[in-house]
Every structure is written in C-alpha cells, then in structure tokens.
C-alpha cells in the first residue's frame, strides 16, 4: 500500500476496540492483538516453512492386517516421519495475556488467527495453494516429560529435549529428527501411555485448539515429533476467513458509528458481504487491521485520518474478513 493509505489508515479506535498490529519481515510477520491501548496477545506467521532448515512431523496413518480366511481384521496406527508441511504457512507462538478473562482471551485468539489469515491474503505472501498449520503442545506429565517422547524419541536420542531446545530453539526438533527412524512406525510398538498421547492436545493448549477449530483448521493428520501434540492444518483457501475475505471500499463519508474506527462500509464487489452484519477485521494498511462492527450491504467504510475527521478519504479498496463478535 502506498504512503497515502498508510496515513489514512491511522485510525483511532474507541476504548474497547480491537486492532491487530503487524510487524512483517522476510520470513513472515508477528501480529499483536490490541484491545484499546493494551497489548493482549500475539501470534507469529511464517511463510514457506522448512525452506532453510528441514522441518519434520509424523504423519498419522492406518495399517490394516486383514484375512477373511482367518477372520482377522486388525487395525494399527502408523507414524511416518515426513516433511509434508514444507512450504506451508505456520502459525506459532500464539499466546494471550493470562490476566484477561477467558472470553476476552478467546476473542483475542480468534482475532489473531483471523488476522493471520487476512494478513496472508492481503500481503499475498506464501504460495497460493499453501496449507496453513499450527503445532500445539501435547500430553506431558507433571514433571514435564512427554510419554510419547519417552517411548519413541528417547530410544534414538539420549539427550534431554529441554536442553536441546534451550540450545537450538525450535530448530532442535529438526536436529533430532536426523536420528529418528525414516520408515513407517507402528504405534502398537509404543507403550499404552504413549499411544494414548498421540494427537492429544495438552490441557493448557485446549483453548487455542478450540480457536483453531473455530477458524476452520483440523487436526488428525500430523503430530509433532517430540510430544505428539496435534498439528492443526487446513488448505488456507478453505478457511472461512480466507473464503469470506473480501474487499471493502472506503467512501467519502463521515463516521457514522463510534465502534471500530467509526466507520461504515459497503460491499465492494459481490455477495460475500451481503449477510455480513457481524464484526470485520479490515486491513487498512500493511501494518494495521481494525475491527468494524455491523457492516451491511450498502454500508460504506470511512477511514479517517487522526485529527482530520472531516478529511475523508475516498474510494479505496481494503481487504476485510469477518470475526466472531467479541
């Protein structure tokens, strides 16, 4: 977006308004959720993951041992070390301020996930057919040990994952993967507690799992190689936030509402926004998304420059995506 847009988008939210601030860089972007002036959460988006250091996951599958003659039909879980999500976009480090109430945290997570998708859409980063995914922490015991790691990874790398993580950061898993079996593993060879942990999200991450589900991501195909936490994935163009994203057009208009930036909007192009009576995140420039309430067909979005309420910009297209009302 050009300089003019950046200035015109410097909207002033009302005290309870949501904004997403974007710090982008060569690898992706970090999104910060703001509620009023408070920083309440963040998420990292990386495009084209695994492009430098290879990334690894276990792909889950089934093996069926069947013989009608023997009356045998036995189904066994399989785990296959893979790089399948290479080139995809990753959401990571999703966190919210623990001091907030659960509903607000949920709203923040929802806006961060939607904002991330909207950022991908608006910035045209990442490949068009790309998958979007997020890894979640898996089951751990009270002392921090993962039953899955103890049953599998530990047999191939004797070092402590926590020490490796401290030394290498998230890249430690790529280094450990070099030591792991390259062919399909049968989960039935792991002990019961490890088998039960496969693809199960750790308790502390379940609100994030909920938000990812709400955003349209699903688990069940991949798990992380250390604690077998679920990897939520979706083709990004299958996500509601992606599919329902549309352009809105700012028109010359006075602010009509005090929510959001005090804006009204009009659907720019199509029917996507026709029923859009809820809340929308609007990417008003490369670094800012604002939340607009109650856009309806025929509404117009007016984006005002701070302190220049009467200086209304005019017709300009912006990407917008719906979010659940906070």
């Amino acid at each position: 977006m050009n300089e003019h847009d950046a200035r015109t988008a410097n909207a002033r939210p009302a005290g309870n308004a949501w904004r997403i601030l974007v710090d982008d860089d060569a690898r992706g972007a970090t999104l910060h959720a703001r509620l009023g002036d408070a920083d309440v959460g963040r998420v990292r988006v990386d495009v084209d993951v695994g492009g430098e250091l290879a990334r690894y996951w276990y792909r889950l599958g089934w093996l069926v041992l069947a013989s009608p003659e023997l009356g045998l039909h036995h189904r066994v879980r399989t785990l296959m070390l893979c790089n399948d999500l290479t080139g995809a976009c990753e959401l990571s480090g999703l966190e919210t301020d623990a001091r907030l109430d659960a509903a607000t945290r949920q709203a923040a997570v929802d806006r961060l996930v939607t904002g991330a998708v909207l950022w991908l859409r608006a910035s045209a980063r990442g490949s068009d057919e790309g998958t979007i995914f997020a890894e979640l922490g898996g089951v751990r015991t009270g002392d921090g040990h993962a039953p899955f790691w103890e049953a599998l990874g530990r047999r191939f790398y004797e070092g402590e994952p926590s020490a490796a993580a401290a030394r290498f950061g998230p890249a430690w898993r790529s280094h450990v993967a070099a030591l792991l079996p390259r062919e399909s593993l049968l989960a039935s060879f792991l002990d019961e507690s490890a088998q039960r942990a496969i693809g199960v999200v750790g308790d502390e991450f379940s609100p994030i799992a909920e938000a990812l589900r709400a955003a349209g991501l699903r688990s069940g195909t991949f798990v992380t190689i250390d604690d077998a936490g679920p990897v939520y994935t979706a083709p990004r163009d299958a996500l509601p936030a992606w599919r329902r994203a549309a352009h809105v057009v700012a028109r010359a208009a006075e602010p009509v509402r005090q929510t959001g930036v005090g804006a009204a909007a009009r659907s720019a192009t199509d029917d996507e926004l026709n029923d859009a009576s809820g809340a929308w995140l609007v990417a008003v420039d490369a670094r800012t998304m604002i939340e607009v309430q109650g856009m309806r067909t025929g509404d117009e979005l007016a984006v005002t420059r701070a302190g220049w309420r009467d200086d209304v910009v005019g017709p300009q297209r912006y990407w917008a995506a719906p979010v659940a009302p906070a």
């Binding site: 013989s67 399989t78 191939f156 030591l179």
Partner: protein, 361 residues
C-alpha cells in the same frame, strides 16, 4: 578300532512313520518342522520317497527326509531333512537384520538404528530341516552324522539344490508357549499368542501368515528389553544342531525367524566345511592290519554313498588319507569295492575330543 561304525544315516522310508510320529510328539512347540499329524507325516514321507527315487529333473519342490540308526540296537534315533527350495512356489519370509547409521552433526550425536526387515531374501534357497535327535544320543556322533551327512548329499546332487543353504533354529519360548519375541512383534500385528499362530502356520503355509505382516521394519530399540534380547536367540533345545551348523561355516547373524526370532543361519554352499572338503573316490576294502597302521590323529571322517535313492552315510574312525573302508563300514553303507563314495573329514572340536577319549555315548 575297526568296529567303530555305530550309526548309519539313510534315506527315510515309509515304514519310519511310527518313529517320526514319536519324534514329532516329543518335540516342543516350534522345535521341529515335523507336523504332529500322522497323515501329514505319511504324506511327507511319500513325498520324500518320490524325491529320492524320481528320475525327473529337480523342480525345487523336492523334500528329502533322513534318519539315523543306532546299528547296535537297530533303533532309529534321529531324523533330519532337506527342502530343495525354501518357499517353493511361494515365498519364504524372514526378518533381515539391518543397521543404519544416523547422525545429527548439530547435536553431535550418532546412533545405529537396528531394524528387522521382512524380506524374501531366502526364497528358493535350500533348507536344512526337521532335525531331531533322541536326547539320549545328544552327546554321541549321531547328531554330527545326522546334520552333516545332508551336506554330502547336497554335494553329491548339487544340481538338485540351490547355491545357498539355510536352516531355521527354534527361538526362545517357555513351556507354556509364551514367546518374548512374538509377544513384542507378532502379537502387535495379529493379537494372537504364539501357539495359536504356530497352529495356523502349520495348517496353512507360513508365507500365508507372513504376507499379512507389515512391510515396514521393526525398529529394535522400540521393543522391550526381553524381546530385544530374544532376537537371534536359540531355544536351548536347538543348541546342538545350531552349533554344528555354525561349525560348518554358516552365518548365524543375518536373518531371524519372523515368528519366534530364532536365528536362521545361511551360507553359500561352497563355503561350508563338509562340502568344501568332500571328494569322491572308489571304495577300497581295508586290510584290518593296514587299518591299524593309519597315523594317529587322522580323526573321524564322514563317508557316504553316491546313490540318491539308497543314500547312506556313516562316520568312520581314523581312515587316514586313503580311500579304504573297513568291512563294517562297507556293510553299513551297502557298497562294494570300486564303487564311488564321497568322503569328508569330520573335525568339529567336540567330536575330536570324544573320539580321542573313546566316548561313545
């Protein structure tokens, strides 16, 4: 020392059925490939009789069954066999021991990943089978004769056998049929105990069962310690025939049984001691006095007929470097002067010792 021919190895006959049935019943789960079923045993004897007698070119489906007799009592005290081609008309499955080295330069760590891979490597090889010796005779020369004379048979009729020879040995299992290897591997696939799968495996072909097993390798470090230890471990009852085969030069480390993890030894026929050493000469009847003149320490030798349908072998003492055979050996073999016989020195350390001390069990 001329009356030393105590045991005779010979082709099994249909009238050996009773004793084979007794051997089959006496052997524990997984220890022999003899079926515990009279009709099946009779069928096997008939097949063997045909294999010994047929003039047809070998097809690979031949099986040969032998027995060893105690000439002092006339009793059959052991049996052994050969299957010309393992997994004939099908596939012969085994687990191949594989080790892959992995390293992570960043972590400064390396490991050797040991895996068992289901394979058909041994399909078509010649199998030594069905070894059973009456325990009373375990310390005698009978098991040596029973095992190694098969190699003379293979040497003599090499065009009927593969260039590679293998033999399965029973793996660890307790009296209740519990098998640590099976519990850690096969049970993960089939959810059945070992005796149950053995029954199915005998009733059906083993390859029928094996074909159901996953092709991905079994990573050994994921197995419980007891099962890891059981890989390639012998059931104690298999120690004697196993030690004979290892002494022959079989490689015991490359393959294990897919059911109980017992070792499957294998080798190219040409590296085996008895095959390598064997040669054929015409029989000369030894003069009794000349026999005594043989230098001390020349040791026992295996000597066998060169007839397929009346194959016989014995161990003779101190026959030295010449082709002479004493009268009792000639009788036992049923050969006459001038007939070609196949010889090989028998020098396993334990047999030398027994011979030297006159131990005869």
């Amino acid at each position: 020392m001329n009356d030393t021919v105590r045991f005779r190895f010979r082709a099994a006959r249909p009238d050996d059925l009773d004793v084979l049935e007794r051997f089959a019943a006496a052997s524990a789960d997984g220890i022999t490939t003899l079926p515990e079923d009279r009709d099946a045993l009779a069928a096997r004897l008939a097949r063997a009789a045909h294999s010994f007698a047929t003039d047809d070119a070998a097809t690979g489906e031949e099986i040969y069954l032998f027995v060893v007799e105690d000439l002092a009592t006339g009793r059959v005290v052991g049996t052994s066999g050969i299957a010309a081609a393992a997994g004939h008309a099908d596939r012969f499955y085994s687990f191949r021991n594989e080790v892959v080295g992995h390293s992570s330069p960043a972590l400064g760590a390396t490991n050797r990943v040991h895996a068992l891979r289901l394979c058909h490597d041994l399909t078509g090889v010649t199998l030594l089978t069905s070894f059973y010796i009456d325990p009373e005779y375990a310390d005698s020369l009978a098991p040596q004769l029973l095992s190694r004379a098969r190699l003379l048979f293979i040497a003599q009729f090499a065009d009927r056998f593969a260039e590679r020879i293998a033999a399965e040995s029973p793996g660890l299992a307790d009296d209740a049929g519990r098998c640590p290897f099976w519990d850690a591997v096969g049970r993960k696939f089939f959810d059945m105990d070992y005796p149950a799968i053995e029954r199915i495996a005998i009733g059906r072909s083993r390859s029928f069962i094996a074909a159901l097993m996953p092709s991905s390798p079994v990573y050994v470090s994921l197995l419980p310690e007891e099962a890891q230890w059981a890989i390639g471990q012998l059931h104690p009852v298999g120690e004697l025939p196993f030690s004979i085969l290892v002494d022959e030069g079989f490689d015991p480390d490359s393959y294990v049984d897919i059911f109980d993890g017992g070792p499957i030894v294998q080798a190219r026929a040409t590296v085996l001691k008895t095959l390598q050493r064997s040669r054929v000469t015409p029989v000369e009847v030894a003069d009794a006095k000349a026999g005594r003149a043989v230098p001390a320490g020349s040791g026992p030798r295996l000597v066998a007929t060169t007839r397929r349908d009346e194959f016989r072998a014995v161990v003779v003492d101190g026959a030295g470097v010449g082709p002479q055979l004493a009268a009792d050996a000639i009788d036992a073999l049923g050969v006459s002067a001038g007939e070609p016989v196949r010889w090989a020195a028998l020098d396993a350390a334990n047999t030398e010792r027994r011979w030297a001390t006159g131990e005869r069990a």
